[in-house]
Assembly symmetry: C2
Homo-oligomer: 209 residues x 2
């Protein structure tokens, strides 16, 4: 198909398709003339995924490229690829590892070991979690730490439910794509539900919001 049909099929505007192609999120079409290219079903699929990760999952162009490249690479069938794709979903940051940070790091390691989670120390989510907890301490919100247990428990239960549900798909490709897409979009879903639940809870407790 031509680019106009690709745009119509996916709902992605032509300038965005060109931008994603230039940035390596979507492979180029097959050249059929000086200003023409032909696209197929793999482009439709890839373009939808790219847009989902960037516009809904909130990934940067660089992270989305990394995730998509890993998902379509020859190693898709290995689980290590999946781990790399998941790691690419978390932005890495420069940080100051002061006393408060190290204390928060010890608390995170305690949670992980209490729950018996097997997690690599290189998982970037560990650093993001420590950053957030250290910030809460620096702001004097020490009471937040009492909620950490319930948070970890909820995260564990949801992760278990997700993996169980995905395993029903049967095909490995489907399971792997699901893990990446659900990780990215599920975060948005969970965060939005939490905001709605917070409004509902504040309304219930305070009578108005």
């Amino acid at each position: 198909m031509r680019i106009a049909e690709l745009s119509r099929r996916t709902g992605v505007p032509i300038p965005t398709i060109k931008y994603y192609t230039r940035e390596g999120l979507v492979p180029p079409g097959e050249r059929t003339g000086p200003n023409q290219a032909r696209y197929d079903e793999t482009h439709v699929r890839r373009l939808k995924l790219a847009r989902a990760l960037v516009e809904v999952g909130g990934l940067s162009i660089a992270s989305a490229r990394e995730v998509l490249t890993l998902m379509s690479g020859p190693g898709l069938s290995t689980l290590e690829t999946l781990g790399k794709a998941q790691y690419a979903l978390t932005p890495r940051k420069e940080r100051t590892e002061d006393e408060t940070w190290r204390r928060a790091a010890a608390e995170v390691d305690a949670i992980v070991s209490e729950r018996g989670w097997q997690v690599r120390e290189s998982n970037p989510a560990r650093g993001t979690l420590i950053d957030a907890l250290a910030t809460l301490r620096r702001l004097g919100h020490d009471d937040f730490f009492e909620i950490l247990g319930p948070y970890a428990e909820a995260a564990e239960r949801l992760a278990a439910d997700e993996v169980k549900l995905l395993m029903r798909r049967g095909d490995l490709e489907g399971v792997l794509e699901g893990l990446v897409v659900w990780t990215a979009l599920g975060e948005t879903v969970l965060a939005s539900l939490r905001l709605l639940a917070e409004e509902a809870e504040a309304t219930r407790v305070f009578g108005a919001f």
Copy 2:
């Protein structure tokens, strides 16, 4: 105190302090000379909050300004202000409300009414949630919808735990600041814990990750 001490006390570099001041996230210091200004404890507090929202909570400068202005405004004691601050935490987007989107919207409304949540239709988290669900449908991940119930249940329980814990603070100012800060940073905490739990669960089920 002078800007150098403000920087030392908060750990925020001087150029960042100047940037936040120019962008209205932090009020300017009291002028004491052509190139000097004096800062006090309110600046220390406000600067820490600004950095927490932007660097850890991931808010845009515009959203952080809106939240901080609402938090420090004369109406802080009214709960409506809190609602506005919470709404400012969610980025608003242009969207296409096609058939898939409307179907997802109906599903979100069903969840909200089943759980008995009192939520304004103008809460921007509602739109973000519908966007994410519509995207999952467009990508063919219909099975994700089976996990929505557990997600909503977890969100409700965590929101209830948070509000209960915050109410122990006693002072209204503390409760309100807590609601805003916990909403912003708690999202990062929950998302990171979920990523760690997913790695742990995948490792448990697949044997390696």
